[in-house]
Assembly symmetry: C2
């Protein structure tokens, strides 16, 4: 049991060394001396670093050994925060100690296996040894320790899923709970990029929350994904359209709804320029929800104004209370969805 | 009275010549033959073009006569859509004809003076003569005609405001109505950039909607603006903090609220990097609303996830039903606010 100092805050500013008192993500260097902990911290015995794909590729292309590069970054910064790409990744490990001051009602115990759902770019980390580097999955097996703050989301790793399937689901864990909050029974819901990873979760959740009377329409231009989401049987229609073409997408969607615009449009695409399609398929005072990280703030804001659409525009929040369990439960409740994840991401 | 063809749609795709059937904003060239109109169109006799400031400056710096450049762009594209900056502006004029198929319940008549609240970059326009170029206000007085579509927002120019004051208010007309929708009585509301143009409107509306029991806190780093918003008397406190520093901003705000996070945080700043301040001042399940066009979609989405904040993140929609009248009424209802606008923007 490490000694616990009182001075910790929920956001981890107490671990910022350079500059002192900063948030840990923008900080240049973090305190990774875990001989003592601060109030609110969770000490984790790290097994695996799941490095961000862009960061891993950059390290490979820079030449030399990726393991050595990670060791050197962590030695210098106290975190695996790639200076070139700015990105981190996540980690898998076991809870080693829970300091006092953790959030109330937390269902976790020492020895539990967890995945951090917060970027490595803000997670204090010490690596004692790199045991293996697995380029195919951008993973490193290591011996080391890390600390999660009171505000840092994480998930208990489920025992009934393979690690890779669980990580794929946890990576987009925010999507389904937000859909569950927003979809009313019998609603009309449109999902752009409905065959992708977050798209299929949104479609299944929209059907679950909206019930049999809901109209759930997936828009998907990639033929294999369109077939897969169709085979799931949760959509009223799967429209093959390019979400970058707002006129064609709107026409194809209205064709399926008998001219009715959607109460909720979810943008889960991975391409630029789909903002206007999402907005133009949304009804007056409906909601356009952008999960797509390719979304442009200005194109969405000015796009809605340009066509005079009085709709609520949401930036997808990757975090929601209970999001990890919610998403894993959705996979457990739908065998076809689970098989799709195991086939595609297992 | 021009002849009206039936084929118009609400978004103006019928006016796109290149490519045909596109939305008018991305279209390269629009049909500006107003010898006939299409269903849903409003024909406007144009008096003044209020050119986007960035576009006007680009034309000045490119050399030659700005009037000639505008004439040449409009001749070539059928709209004042600057090819370098991509921006447009707005127009002032008088309603010349209302084609059948306009939105129901529209309170406008031939002869009324209006301002378009949709960009010139998507407004079909023909210019017969440039009468004056006013560099100080980036305006051109012209003789010409334009068409607004059924979906294009516009405002009837008020007779009780100077044009410049009305245009300054109409430019940010979306802000106050959104605040009125979101602020409940006795709510705690924080406005980042509370002394700026949209910030002061948000602060006054938050007080009006939240009532005397509401806690309204403006964060403003520019001293003259901080003094002006303080003098309005609508804020519970005006905090001098730099919204780019989330730790300091959060501490200063919580200091004023006795440690309570806000139900609603409005970001009205004009600088980069204020996303995390806005998110970190918002309570669990509260709303963070980004009016600032400098907002980064990814910084907001990943920022909330990184600190585990389960908040609703909104992209500010510049359009809301009745937004122009709402905002002008707010100015009419508060003499000090109106004087601030007349002093600053008149």
């Amino acid at each position: 049991m490490r000694n616990v100092l009182k001075a910790g805050d929920a956001f981890g500013t107490h671990r910022a060394l350079q500059p002192q008192g900063a948030l840990p993500q923008p900080a240049d260097r973090l305190d990774n001396d875990f001989s003592r902990l601060f109030a609110g911290e969770m000490l984790v015995s790290v097994e695996t670093l799941n490095v961000d794909a862009a960061s891993f590729r950059q390290m490979e292309e820079a030449g030399g050994d990726v393991g050595e590069r990670v060791l050197s970054t962590v030695r210098e910064r106290g975190k695996q925060h790639n200076r070139v790409t700015g990105s981190g990744g996540m980690l898998l490990g076991r809870v080693a100690q829970l300091a006092e001051g953790r959030p109330a009602g937390e269902a976790i115990a020492v020895g539990d296996r967890i995945a951090s759902l917060v970027s490595l770019s803000l997670t204090p980390l010490r690596i004692d040894e790199v045991r293996a580097v697995r380029p195919a999955s951008a993973q490193l097996d290591v011996v080391g320790e890390a600390v999660l703050f009171a505000s840092s989301p994480y998930a208990k790793m489920p025992s009934d899923f393979a690690d890779r399937v669980a990580l794929a689901a946890l990576d987009v864990a925010g999507a389904a709970p937000q859909v569950a909050r927003l979809v009313k029974p019998n609603a009309t819901v449109v999902i752009l990029g409905g065959g992708g990873k977050s798209g299929v979760l949104c479609a299944c959740e929209a059907r679950r929350a909206g019930g049999p009377g809901a109209t759930v329409i997936a828009v998907e231009s990639y033929a294999p994904y369109a077939q897969e989401i169709e085979a799931l049987g949760v959509c009223s229609a799967v429209v093959r359209a390019d979400a970058r073409d707002p006129v064609a997408t709107r026409a194809a969607v209205l064709d399926e709804t008998g001219g009715r615009e959607a109460d909720l449009v979810l943008s889960c695409v991975n391409v630029d320029g789909a903002e206007l399609s999402a907005i133009m398929c949304t009804r007056d005072r409906g909601i356009t929800y952008f999960f797509a990280m390719s979304t442009s703030f200005t194109r969405a804001a000015l796009g809605a104004e340009g066509v005079g659409k009085d709709v609520d525009l949401f930036i997808g929040n990757g975090y929601a209370h209970g999001h990890a369990e919610h998403t894993l439960d959705l996979l457990r409740s739908n065998a076809s969805l689970r098989q799709l994840f195991e086939r595609r991401y297992g």
